[in-house]
């Protein structure tokens, strides 16, 4: 098999907030570095930073503090975040938001006096979310893209990473094997340092919000290298995804949180407002509570025609709704739904993975020369991510990793000789679907997404999780027997669908194993057979590793309360509570 080979100083996988910040920081640290950005789609256009609606949490205002932001993050994460990582996040966010405004050129919403506007967001004890209307992500990524295009980066667009390739002598990472999707050919890029910033994205669920290019490739590659993934059972569901029926990519996309906050009603299939039966705050309860309540209505069969519930806004005045939620109303109208005046079907939808690769404060990992940032990583958010901490995480740790990689390359950077057997095996894996015939990829995708939704979703129990693990074994075996027609490999999305499913099935197994191991309920993880939060002092993180045969092991690792212990606080007043 022909493999094109090249070398670079720093190779960055992904071009969301983490990847682009890393690239800019590395080049700023040393303008002589040769930096290459490889991305599965177009630079700055794939991934989810662009899709951020809410905003960017940062303690700026007088009366707020990094201690307060930290406590909200720890309490919101149900005491499972790695506290030094959470601290670094809230501390560095202050510098990063200044960098975004003053150097990158973002312009965020202002108060009448010209200072930055910070809005209230769920789970926080202070109004600290910096935003640009409800299109914050577009402002951040568009401005970052311009800065990246202005500089001399090597760009490998529409390149899919398929294997992190270690050095033959075991001294660290040698480089990354990719498929140039535009030609269908293989490319091996050797690098002195590599950043994994492909984003997570729970796209294996029937209903999901992330960008369609995401398929957990980064986590799957890290797992195959034997690296540890933590807190993988923690998958955040957003309560209101659009439900538009089958065979449409509109289904699962987010209808924003603000609709419920503003007084929107959720109605079940019988037309009944059901939320008050589950929680005193009704529709305004937190994401996890509303998602579980909708799921319970769905299980009881009180559903709308497509199997979800309705959201109603019209009682607030259709004209006002159309003005206040212009973007959402227009999007629904484009898709054929009247959000301002009618009823729109919604369903909870998988949104974000709090878990991921274990990483250190400087973005390094257990493998020399491999760095990681953003949603590929676990530890910052614990059991639950606060809205507004996602883009803060990717931009903070992307920048830190860029600095650290530049320093690493200067200090001990060298081009390592690749373990050619790993390259050979990865090519063999990618070629596999061309060597078999038969099978039905679409049917496998549907079954995977239903299995994950039903048994590893919002409500979990031991029977469902065991059923899921056995079902995932079957799906993995069936994928092996499912072929893709060979021929024109250029931009062959069906070949990539096969590889997406491969990554998704591997990652799904890890989620299910971790969910089975955690016998308590907290944050995004709810076990119907263990509904209690459990003892906070004795909190543990899950840590999953795989051996060379893909056998998965889960360890429960005690949380190190390195800054505060449960019962202690760095602030006066209640963390995570709405400002009074």
């Amino acid at each position: 098999m022909n493999i094109e080979r090249s070398s670079t100083d720093i190779l960055i996988l992904g071009s969301g907030g983490a990847g682009l910040f890393a690239a800019l920081h590395a080049l700023k640290a040393n303008s002589d570095l040769d930096v290459t950005i490889a991305v599965k789609g177009l630079l700055g256009k794939s991934g989810c930073t662009r899709m951020v609606q809410g905003g960017y949490n940062v303690a700026l205002a007088s009366g707020d503090s990094v201690e307060r932001h930290f406590m909200d993050t720890i309490v919101g994460g149900k005491w499972l975040p790695r506290q030094d990582l959470a601290w670094k996040l809230v501390e560095t966010a202050v510098e990063r938001i200044h960098e975004l405004e003053n150097e990158i050129g973002c312009f965020f919403d202002r108060n009448p006096d010209g200072s930055l506007h910070q809005k209230a967001f769920a789970g926080q004890s202070f109004d600290r979310t910096v935003h640009k209307g409800d299109l914050t992500g577009i402002e951040i990524i568009s401005r970052l893209m311009e800065q990246v295009w202005a500089r001399g980066f090597n760009k490998l667009e529409e390149h899919r990473a398929i294997s992190l390739v270690p050095a033959a002598d075991g001294s660290g990472l040698a480089g990354v094997l990719l498929i140039d999707m535009r030609t269908g050919g293989y490319r091996f890029v050797r690098a002195k340092a590599v950043l994994l910033a492909t984003g997570g994205g729970p796209t294996m669920y029937l209903y999901h919000t992330p960008s369609g290019d995401k398929s957990c490739d980064g986590m799957a590659m890290a797992l195959r290298l034997g690296l540890g993934l933590r807190d993988m059972e923690m998958v955040q569901f957003h309560p209101t995804g659009l439900l538009a029926g089958t065979d449409t990519r509109m289904t699962g996309t987010v209808l924003e949180e603000g609709l419920r906050g503003a007084g929107g009603y959720l109605l079940n299939g019988d037309g009944e407002r059901f939320m008050s039966r589950y929680h005193e705050h009704g529709e305004r309860a937190t994401r996890d509570v509303v998602s579980r309540s909708i799921q319970a209505e769905m299980r009881a069969g009180r559903t709308t025609p497509n199997g979800g519930v309705h959201i109603q806004m019209s009682h607030l005045g259709p004209e006002d709704v159309a003005k206040r939620f212009k973007g959402m109303v227009e999007r629904c109208a484009d898709c054929g739904f009247d959000l301002a005046g009618g009823l729109v079907e919604v369903v909870p939808t998988a949104h974000y993975m709090m878990g991921g690769l274990e990483f250190e404060l400087d973005g390094s990992t257990a493998l020399p020369a491999l760095f990681a940032a953003g949603e590929d990583c676990g530890g910052v958010h614990g059991a639950n991510r606060l809205g507004g901490n996602g883009v803060a995480n990717s931009t903070v740790y992307g920048g830190i990793a860029g600095d650290a990689m530049a320093a690493y390359v200067a200090r001990e950077g060298l081009l390592r000789d690749a373990d050619e057997t790993v390259i050979e095996a990865a090519v063999g894996r990618a070629e596999h679907p061309f060597s078999v015939t038969g099978g039905d990829l679409n049917e496998l995708r549907d079954r995977l997404s239903r299995l994950m939704w039903d048994d590893v979703g919002i409500l979990r129990d031991v029977a469902g999780l065991k059923r899921a693990l056995s079902g995932l074994d079957d799906l993995a075996a069936e994928l092996e027997a499912t072929g893709v027609a060979d021929g024109d490999r250029a931009f062959n999305l069906t070949w990539h669908d096969w590889q997406n499913l491969d990554s998704q099935i591997q990652t799904s197994r890890v989620i299910a194993q971790a969910a089975l191991a955690r016998d308590d309920s907290r944050g995004a993880h709810f076990r119907e057979d263990f509904p209690e939060t459990g003892d906070l002092e004795g909190s543990t993180n899950t840590r999953v590793t795989a051996d060379s045969d893909g056998e998965v092991t889960v360890e429960m690792v005690p949380v190190e309360f390195s800054v505060v212990k449960p019962g202690e606080s760095l602030i006066a007043g209640e963390a995570g509570a709405p400002p009074t």
Binding site: L42, R110, E146, G245, M250
Partner: protein, 242 residues
């Protein structure tokens, strides 16, 4: 399920690169169906090697723009019923850009021209400086805000006649960005922007056909911004480029 298959769509899809032909597919018509869903159905059920591009699915990334029944559009936000012409759809790649395969084109020239128009912020402060208070009421800030929500989808670039005739013309999106920068009081080199857009292929190449305004999926008005740039460059006596 609530969807009903009411009829079949006849969908002509461009196959190939510069050389190629339309291939016709019969696609089930559903109540909730975008043009992107139609293309996806074909790839999943009829032609596994069909090339197309999409990412966010919700009109935020601008990856999925194509020419649909003669008009450039985001396919993820275009309901089939809105564009159907006698039960037929004809789907092609965007115009005015190099083609890669089938429905996919190369956006590199679009982003390079964005840079030619100095479409990037030049800092006048660092991360260690306080943020500048900016009044949202000033005419300049209002002008910048009016154009800032561009998602760089290249629909206006594909719709523009001048881009088609004049390969040097940087196009409406790049000039729209330049206009927002000229109006950004924080930018450290606003004269540099004016200089950049007054070169050959810059704002003076625009013939004010307003196709950009007509086609912009977010409802921006690049034509107005370009008119503003023409005025300012004339005042600054940079002169017309061509």
């Amino acid at each position: 399920m609530g969807d009903t298959i009411t009829e079949t769509l006849a969908v002509e899809v461009w196959r190939g690169r510069d050389e190629g032909q339309f291939e016709t597919f019969e696609v089930p018509h559903r109540e909730s169906q975008t043009v992107l869903d139609v293309v996806t159905w074909i790839q999943r059920n009829a032609e596994p090697a069909l090339a197309y591009r999409f990412a966010c699915r919700v009109g935020m990334c601008g990856s999925c723009a194509m020419t649909v029944n003669g008009r450039p559009r985001w396919t993820c936000r275009t309901h089939v019923s809105e564009v159907l012409d006698g039960g037929r759809l004809r789907i092609e790649p965007l115009a005015n850009l190099p083609r890669i395969k089938d429905l996919v084109c190369d956006l590199t020239p679009f982003f390079e021209k964005w840079q030619t128009a100095r479409g990037r912020f030049e800092p006048s402060a660092t991360r260690h400086d306080p943020m500048v208070p900016v009044s949202t009421e000033s005419p300049e800030r209002r002008a910048a805000d009016a154009g800032i929500e561009c998602i760089n989808c290249a629909v206006c670039y594909a719709a523009c006649d001048v881009v088609r005739w004049n390969p040097d013309y940087v196009g409406p999106a790049a000039l729209n960005r330049a206009w927002t920068l000229v109006n950004d009081e924080r930018d450290g080199d606003r004269n540099g922007v004016l200089q950049a857009v007054s070169q050959a292929g810059g704002c003076h190449s625009c013939h004010t056909h307003a196709s950009c305004l007509e086609h912009c999926p977010v409802g921006l008005n690049p034509t107005a911004g370009i008119a503003g740039l023409k005025r300012l460059t004339a005042l600054a006596a940079f002169g017309g480029g061509d």
